[in-house]
């Protein structure tokens, strides 16, 4: 007898059944409805405040619609700042009980006794969260654009629309990372509360502490021995490189480059590099994209890696509760 190494059938069988069921659950769950209301209110509040601020410059600023996202009016933070908080929150809320919830409800063996592979269940749950996030972000985007149209009275330019859509994509993958983190913890921990807390802890770590740690580590990696300018530059770059391990930093830099076209570089700029540049002029879209391309790939790659990790762990898990 020859040993057949391949598995029978497609690992994606049943995937859409899982995706639609999970999405229906997300859309109708009280948890998500609360978050959606929260986000809609913050979107409306901050954007409305911002509009009061930028109305004065209508006609002067070529990127009026992008300012809707980035300009802040005290005491409210800018809308992008709020999104940076809310996206991880929503993503974690979407996935922290994805797998352990099935175990706790004792539905896992019933579902896996159907002619599907585990792949479909896990990937379906991830995709459902991802699509839910996408729908939510798109709604917010439309809301902001709509408010802009009504209150500013000018239509957005094509470049503004494209830039903000790229920003939306970045938001989605930034959320994807936290979705994958929460999914991973939902595979590891049997208690949904533990999984939620662990995801929050990781998020807090990268939000509050990673910057400090990167600053502290940089002098170790690139010590300043002679006080040369090169050494200072190397240390600064090391600190920057380390800090970019945090998805929050990556996301922040993407936001900055995409929504503020005048930003020419995300690292240190030396005087000679600015030779011939007209300060304050915006970069073309393609150049801004070049600037954040590595960041975007980084976000997507981390999402895939984290998902792969939860996939491996889930495949090895015993089904009996």
């Amino acid at each position: 007898m020859t040993l057949k190494v391949s598995r029978e059938g497609s690992p994606w069988k049943g995937l859409w059944a899982v995706v639609t069921k999970e999405m229906a659950d997300h859309m109708s769950s009280a948890r998500m409805q609360i978050l959606e209301i929260l986000i809609a209110l913050t979107a409306f509040g901050t954007v409305y405040a911002t509009i009061q601020e930028i109305r004065a410059v209508v006609g002067h600023d070529p990127f009026l619609f992008l300012r809707l996202f980035t300009v802040r009016k005290d005491p409210l933070p800018a809308f992008v700042g709020l999104l940076g908080f809310l996206i991880p929150l929503v993503a974690i809320a979407l996935a922290f009980d994805a797998v352990n919830g099935e175990f706790n409800r004792r539905t896992i063996s019933r579902v896996l006794a159907q002619p599907i592979y585990r792949d479909a269940l896990l990937f379906g749950k991830f995709l459902a969260g991802f699509f839910t996030l996408a729908i939510m972000l798109l709604t917010i985007w439309l809301l902001v654009m709509g408010l802009g149209l009504i209150f500013l009275g000018v239509p957005p330019r094509v470049e503004e629309v494209v830039r903000s859509l790229f920003y939306l994509g970045a938001c989605l993958f930034y959320g994807g990372i936290w979705l994958a983190v929460a999914l991973l913890f939902s595979v590891i921990f049997r208690q949904p509360a533990t999984a939620a807390l662990a995801s929050m802890a990781v998020w807090l770590f990268f939000t509050a502490f990673w910057g400090m740690i990167a600053d502290a580590l940089a002098p170790v990696v690139r010590p300043i021995r002679f006080g040369l300018p090169e050494e200072y530059l190397a240390q600064f770059q090391a600190s920057l490189a380390l800090s970019r391990f945090s998805p929050n930093i990556l996301y922040g830099e993407i936001t900055l480059a995409l929504l503020s076209p005048e930003v020419r570089a995300l690292g240190p700029l030396l005087a000679f590099q600015l030779q011939g540049a007209i300060l304050g002029t915006p970069l073309p879209l393609s150049q801004s994209l070049m600037l954040v391309w590595p960041h975007l790939t980084g976000l997507i790659a981390s999402t895939i890696l984290l998902f792969a990790l939860s996939y491996v762990l889930f495949q090895r898990q015993e089904i009996r509760a």
């Binding site: 057949k4 598995r7 029978e8 059938g9 069988k13 049943g14 059944a17 899982v18 639609t20 069921k21 659950d25 409800r105 004792r106 539905t107 063996s109 019933r110 579902v111 896996l112 006794a113 159907q114 002619p115 599907i116 592979y117 015993e318 089904i319 009996r320």
Partner: protein, 314 residues
Amino acid sequence: MRGLAIETKGLTKRYGELVAVDNLNLKVQEGEVFGLLGPNGSGKTTTILMLLGLTEPTSGTVRVLGFDPVRQPLSVKSRVGYLPELVGFYDDLTARENMIYIAKLNGLPRGEAYRRIDEALEQVGLEEVADKPVATFSRGMRQRLGLAEILIKNPKLIILDEPTQGLDPEGAREFLGLVRKLKERGITILLSSHILSQVQKICDRVGLFYKGKMVLEGTVSELALKVLGSACRIRLEAQGSQEAIIKALKSIPGILQVRQPAPGLYEAEAEKDLRAEAVRAVVEAGGNLRGLEIEEPSLDEIYTHYFEKVEVER
């Protein structure tokens, strides 16, 4: 000759040092009801999970309906209905919504799925609560919903893990009645239980599990003969010469032992149902028959007796 629905050879599952299932050779004929019986932790659920391909065997081979669950899990799972121990549902969905999800996972076309769902709900008597959230269901209703959900697959083999656990006696009786109806439709049924007396009546054959091994296998009377030394006990009440009656009873081939617990009462241990022969013998010995009863041994008795022997031998 009927085919084999389940066949395992040398099936073994180890969790580190622990041997959950030890060299199991199990054969279940098509159309029969087989009971996997034994205390909790004796390897019944692990065996079932391996039959479904939900756990990989450490060694040995499995064939379920002619398929290998390790390599062809989808073929196995689309033909086998499985009701896990203390099955759970999505509580905020209705019974029908829960079933629609399962139908979709099975790839049933919508119209066909809805028709089968209605049919199955009616068979288990849940058609009136079909659109109520499962959160409001009792344990017994959940168990019946689990059965209904299996039926929409039109399974050839049904595996029930501790189906009567958590049910009150009335609920258990009702549930086993449903299982019996499925048996009449020619579906092979494998069920596990640690409450032996409940399942004794519906199993054609049983296998007794102990510490990962199937220590006894066969029909209940075969097991009784093997373990207790007799398959059934015939109780007679008769008047007449005691010696003559005892002698006549003892002379019947197949009667192993005759006791007299009280004057006029006789108990004969027999290899099989020998009531007719016993009556004839009593009458021929000049006795007046007053009463006749047959008592089949309970699985509990067989089980207890077996383990007493095992413990003594150790």
